[in-house]
Structures are given as C-alpha cells and as structure tokens.
C-alpha cells in the first residue's frame, strides 16, 4: 500500500497508523514491527528536516512479501519493505557510513547521527537512489532477523 503524507512531524501519527494496519493484517512479529516503525520515522523525519521547504508530500509505501511453502503459513518467512520517496529534495545518502562513537563517555556524546546509525544497524537491506531531484530510500526487514 502506498500513501502520501504532508511534510510535517504531524504526519508521524497517521504514518504509524498506516503502517501498523498493514503489519497487523499480515501478522508481522513485534521484533520486525519495531525496527520498521523506527526506520520509517527516522527516514521520514530526515526528509522533513533536510527539505522543509519542498512543497510536495512524501510518498511512503509498505509491502509485505512471503516466502515458504504457503504464503499464509505461519512458518513462512515474511519480509517488510518500506519505501520513501522525496521528490524535490536535496541528496542525502542514508547508506553512507557516518562515524558515531557509541563508546564515547557521556560528556562527549551528541545525539547527531544516531537515527541513521540505528537504521543502518537494524536493516537487512538499505538502498538509496537519487536522480533528477528525486530521492528514494528502501528499507527491508525480515522475520528471522528480529534483533530488537
């Protein structure tokens, strides 16, 4: 399913409800749901933050794919893919490695970069493309890789 969301933090609640309905319908485990919601928020907020004046909405698509003997078999594995499209924004490659020192003492810590750091660690796959002003991020997380 795909939906457009206004470029605002006020979209976070409807964005959560949109994805949660899809995840619930497909009986996605909490261990996949949590990182999917987290990635979706971090990526969406990033687009809002770095491209605040772009007039277009942000398009979000959530799909669930199955593998296994029966598509609705509880034992089959399920993979959730979240795609966010930001048309008209600046380039921001979320797959680029950024140095976040998670071992630093408290006085040296800053919150900057934590969101992207989390996404990169939680994703099974993370892809980014940018062409003609159109940025697209694809985050994929599957059952069997529930680490949160």
């Amino acid at each position: 399913m795909r939906r457009d969301f206004p470029r605002s933090l006020d979209s976070l609640s409807p964005l959560y409800e949109f994805a949660e309905e899809i995840l619930e319908t497909n009986e996605i485990s909490p261990g996949v749901r949590f990182p999917v919601h987290l990635a979706m928020e971090e990526l969406f907020v990033n687009m809002v933050k770095y491209n605040p004046d772009v007039p277009t909405d942000i398009t979000v698509e959530v799909t669930v794919t199955f593998s296994g003997e029966a598509s609705n078999d509880a034992a089959s594995s399920k993979e959730v893919t979240v795609t966010l499209v930001d048309d008209g924004g600046v380039e921001f490659d979320v797959t680029a490695k950024r140095h976040v020192n998670i071992d630093a003492p408290l006085e040296e810590r800053t919150p900057g970069g934590l969101g992207i750091h989390l996404i990169q660690n939680l994703a099974d796959r993370l892809e980014y493309t940018y062409k003609d002003g159109r940025g697209e991020v694809i985050f994929t997380k599957g059952s069997g890789n529930e680490d949160v």
Partner: protein, 97 residues
C-alpha cells in the same frame, strides 16, 4: 500518543510512543527534573532517536549536578535500541521483568 507524569512514588512515568512529534512535551517535562530521577518505562512502547536525544540532554544536565537518570522497566525493543546507541554505558538501566 505519549504521556509523561509523576507516579505515586515520585518516579517519572512515561507511556506510549516517544517519537519526534512528542519531543517538545517530553523535553518540557524533563527540563523540570532536579536531582537523581527515575524514569519508569513499563508502559513506554517505543522511542526513536529524537527521544534518545532528550534522554541524553537530560542526563548531561543532571550528571553535571552530580545526579542522573535511572531508567527502569525497559522493554526488550527499547533496551536493544539503547544497546545499539551505546546508551547502556551512560545510563543506569533496568530491564522489564
């Protein structure tokens, strides 16, 4: 939905989802904390990096005055986010039983 208030024993009770849209509310409350404080996350379902930023800012302020935050009843998902962020080394954290 996100709620933050004092519990019966003086702990700070957080409920719901602490996402980027709720930061102003959370920060406003946290800015009022003085001295060693306990955050009860028993009913906190979710936190993103925006929420982590508030915890970090508050911890820095409180540690600067020789106190700090203790976070109790942390669910598995949030605990792992703390671990990925290295927060388990700078906060006193107790997992949910």
């Amino acid at each position: 939905m996100f709620e933050i208030e004092y519990g019966d024993n003086g702990e700070v009770v957080c409920r719901g989802r602490l996402d980027a849209a709720q930061c102003e509310k959370a920060q406003g409350f946290m800015d009022g904390l003085v001295g060693a404080s306990t955050l009860d996350f028993a009913d906190l379902e979710y936190i993103s990096s925006a929420g982590l930023g508030i915890l970090l800012k508050t911890q820095k302020r409180l540690v600067g005055s020789s106190s700090g935050l203790r976070i109790i009843n942390v669910n598995n998902h949030i605990r792992d986010v703390f671990r990925y962020s290295g927060f388990h080394t700078i906060f006193d954290i107790e997992a949910k039983e």
